[in-house]
Amino acid sequence: MSATDVSEDVLTVMQARIAAHRREKRLMTLSGIAIFLLLFFTASWWTDFGIGAIIDGLPKFGHYLAKLFSTPAGGGSAERIPIVSFAHLFGGWDTKQSILYWFYNIGTFISLMLDTVAMAVLATLLGFSIAFLASFPASHNLSPAPWIVWLSRRILEVLRSIPDIVFALFFVFCYGIGPLAGILAMGLHTAGALGKLFSELNENASSRPIEGIRSVGADWFSTIRYAVVPQVFPGFVSYALLRFEINVRSSAIIGVVGAGGIGEEIKKVINFNRYEDISAIVILVVLLVIAIDTLSGRIRQRFIGDARIA
């Protein structure tokens, strides 16, 4: 009888607790929704963001397409004659407003895109080298002293947290318009981003080989070279290739502030409303990015596979 009492007591207590728990959870959910709405509406009000603005802009999109798929009537008139036939759209180089005609300037674009890729390659190599060297002192398990870890981590953090476009503004100011500014900007940001990832790989490296090499009387550099680098290098390369993909996208944009590559051209054709050029560049950049991502992904996979067998 007393046993029943006790168990009923437990039930009442637990029921009360469950109810309290549910109230708590409901409160959490409601606060979550409230925070979401508050943030959304405050930021919308601040930026004039809204469905209205999006809908208002839509006709301009049609306008862009209309311009793209029409030719000027000629004779100084502002009137435009729409393209109606496929024959026109897929016409030759000198058929105005045919797709081929968009690319009349393709030689320039391709040369600028090669600039863009070269910038990304250089920036990735530069960033990789800095990150490689900085990652060892920035790893708790390898660094000679805690203050060196602290210092190298802070430096990498600063490099990482400044967006490359901000670096680019600064370097365009120092070195003038051109690829040099873009390369330095992306290189430094890459150093920061890769340095953090590399030092995490270092910290996950097995300590056994490290102890083994240390026990033969090897100095710090040799210990890193023999016990750590063989463990982490495939990972480093894989991260660097991912970063290269990011840098190709980034270097297509970074030219907008004058730091070289296709970005400068993008800015120019937008300013001058050269619709066919805009389309051509957008298509080329998309193709380039897809090609680079595919290629780099393939290499990455093969590299990891090889490292396991070799």
């Binding site: 102890e211 083994g212 033969v216 009387g217 090897a218 100095d219 040799s222 063989p230 463990q231």
Partner: protein, 270 residues
């Protein structure tokens, strides 16, 4: 002569090794036994300074090794090679490079960083591997070898150091009885032919009796037995491992190597 005087090590408020005094003759084969946590590994690691002693000093031929730092410390480490339970090879490097790594202390930095080894170094490494009967695996990756082979690579690396002392921390604890015997025989061969002092932590008491000419028993960080294998019997073992421990340990550990009858297959524990 390797001399330890009042050597202690604390980890926080836990005393891992307390006040150890030892005098070890050059060329001897010393076994260190004791229950888990007795401080065996800590003692060995303090000798080549992978662990710093908190008190006491360790002298080798009248040089205080506890005061060494920088390149003098690294030279000392090169002189007392260490062999680990888990082999501690660099798994992604080939065997030859792992063995040559034993000479890193004797190489200028630029050669070490660029892996520019000399023919003499390669030959020396191959000889060391050959001595341990595994020359044919020289170009395999270290992680492609069996445990027994890996431990022999580790011993070859130690030989490359041309050490005066070899410290072995449970070198056979991860090996099957056959490989354990191969590894212990190799250590004995090195000890006898090259006159290198071998100091070896062991969990298997009969292995200690078979191979060592002196046994040091540790419990709770202290040396509680120090004598010839013949004296290492009954009551002494009970003192080290406790009454229950002694019974368990003797049963668990007396079978992993064929005692005396070299080469005979070891019976399975009951």
């Amino acid at each position: 002569m390797l001399v330890l005087e009042g050597v202690s090590r604390r980890f926080g408020d836990k005393s891992a090794v307390s006040d150890v005094d030892l005098r070890i003759e050059p060329g001897s084969f010393v076994g260190v036994v004791g229950p888990s946590g007795a401080g065996k590994s800590t003692l060995l690691r303090m000798i080549n300074r992978l662990v710093e002693p908190t008190a006491g000093n360790i002298r080798f031929e009248d040089r205080d090794t506890t005061r060494l730092s920088g390149s003098a410390l690294r030279d000392w480490r090169a002189q007392c090679a260490m062999i680990f339970q888990q082999f501690n090879l660099v798994s992604r490097l080939d065997v030859l490079t792992n063995v040559i790594a034993g000479r890193l202390n004797h190489m200028p930095l630029w050669r070490s960083l660029t892996k520019s080894f000399t023919d003499a170094e390669r030959t020396m490494a191959l000889r060391a591997l050959h001595r341990l009967g595994i020359a044919e695996v020289a170009l395999k990756r270290a992680d492609a070898l069996s445990g027994g082979q890996q431990q022999r690579v580790a011993i070859a690396r130690a030989l490359m150091q041309e050490p005066r002392i070899i410290l072995a921390d449970e070198p056979i604890a991860s090996l099957d009885p056959h490989n354990a015997k191969v590894v212990m025989d190799a250590l004995r061969d090195i000890n006898r032919r090259d006159g290198i002092l071998v100091m070896c932590n062991l969990h298997t008491l009969d292995t200690a009796r078979t191979y060592c000419d002196r046994i040091i028993g540790m419990a709770n960080g202290r040396v509680v037995f120090d004598g010839a294998p013949a004296e290492f019997v009954g009551g002494v073992i009970e003192q080290i491992y406790g009454a229950d421990g002694a019974r368990i340990d003797e049963r668990m550990t007396s079978t992993s190597l064929g005692v005396g009858g070299a080469g005979q297959p070891a019976p399975m524990p009951a």
